[in-house]
Amino acid sequence: MDKVIMAENLSLAYSSDETIINKVKFSINSGSFVFITGASGSGKSTLLKSLYGGLKPKEGSLIVGGVELRGISSSKLNFLRKHIGIVFQEYKLVKEWTIEKNIRLPLIINGYEKSVTQTQVDSLLKHVRLKHQAGKFPLELSGGEQQRVAMARALAHNPILILADEPTGNLDDYSAELIWNLLVGANEQLKTTVIVVTHHIPEHIKVDYKHYHIEFGRINEVN
């Protein structure tokens, strides 16, 4: 099976004197669903950040989608990010744009034509049950609704990889359920690799997943 992520002797750090992830080795198969858990401050969000090039490896090698992230140029990083969908706990929506425009963003960046983007955006708005809110701005929506917009944005360009950092951390049950269904749906129907960083794996989730746990800077495979 193809590996979408390969890490070899990978160390991550924000400063030279404190290493968060220490010389780890792991790989993730294409099309898999992965949970990364760990205590607060264990480095799980740091690891996720490194996967989209938000933090460059201090040491070792990290290959995502066939692209080596150590010493990566900004144009290569942009190319890689065009194929990744990211969901943050704090949504990271552009406040001065309508939710429709927020969802359209990855499609514009990927150079899709307006007719295509409109069909895709309409379909995604229907999926996240926000069709009636299309013209609203993020701050006019609840936290759950904003996260659904962020989820729709992450799925818009059919990425090969979805990275989600505590995607349901602050959400009501209804929105959380919807987010999990969308992530599982993308994984099962589109074969998108999904990596979710979370404190707790939802008990009711109906997908075959891999579980990694981070502790003391090391990554351990749980199942």
Binding site: L55, N78, K82, I86, K92, V94, K95
Partner: protein, 270 residues
Amino acid sequence: MKSIRNHLSLVIALVSILFSIQIFIIVDRSIDAYKENLASNYSVVVVSKMILDANATLNSNKIISEISNLTPDSVIERLNTGMSAKNVELLKLTLPKFYKIKLKYYPTPDEINLLTEKLLQNNSIIKVENFSHNHDTTYKLLLLFKNVISVFSISMLVVTVLLILKELKIWQFKHNERMTVMGLFGAPVWMRSAVLFRLAIVDALIASAFAFILFSIISTDAWVLEQFKYIGIEVVAFDPVYDFLTLTLIAIFLSIVLATLIVLGHKEEV
């Protein structure tokens, strides 16, 4: 409303800069026009033992535009108390020759001194009257006026640049989030900063339009025209094509510099 306020703060800062630049241009033009006016009324008087070669004198210094004879007839006429025509002719021959030298432009005190020295190198010339005291006073007054306006324009420029830098911080904060999010989805730098550059150019065009209206009114104002008339000069206070283009280019240049600084100072917060 907030967006209009954000636009206005940059537009006002840009208009202030354009205002100080155009005021400086007007003052510079007025001084040049006044200098021209002074130059046409100013001349140097040369006294020579012998008749001067007009062409050689003209070529001796590039600021000389014209050399003409000053006839002593009127003086001799006043002194003539029954002198014979022959004696008058003899007197004329023995009298030194007087010349009036006109200059191409109003010279600086240094240029005047240089010209005097150069003329005195001619052995025939015994005296050069350059009216240096009057000339120096007028020239220094002009210089003082120009310096005062320059200092005023520079201080205005500094204050507005500081205002723009403050504006830059607000813009940086405002656009950082959008640029970061776009970067997370792989947008190249030009795409991330396109909105910023578009806004900056729109603000520059708005500021130029304001400046155009403002200076069109000022340049046709009767009071302003009257002031120029009093001094005896004709000045184009605002050329609707040349000046407008200059101000627009300056405004666009400044706002592009501003936008570039924001893009360069952008730190991806992920």
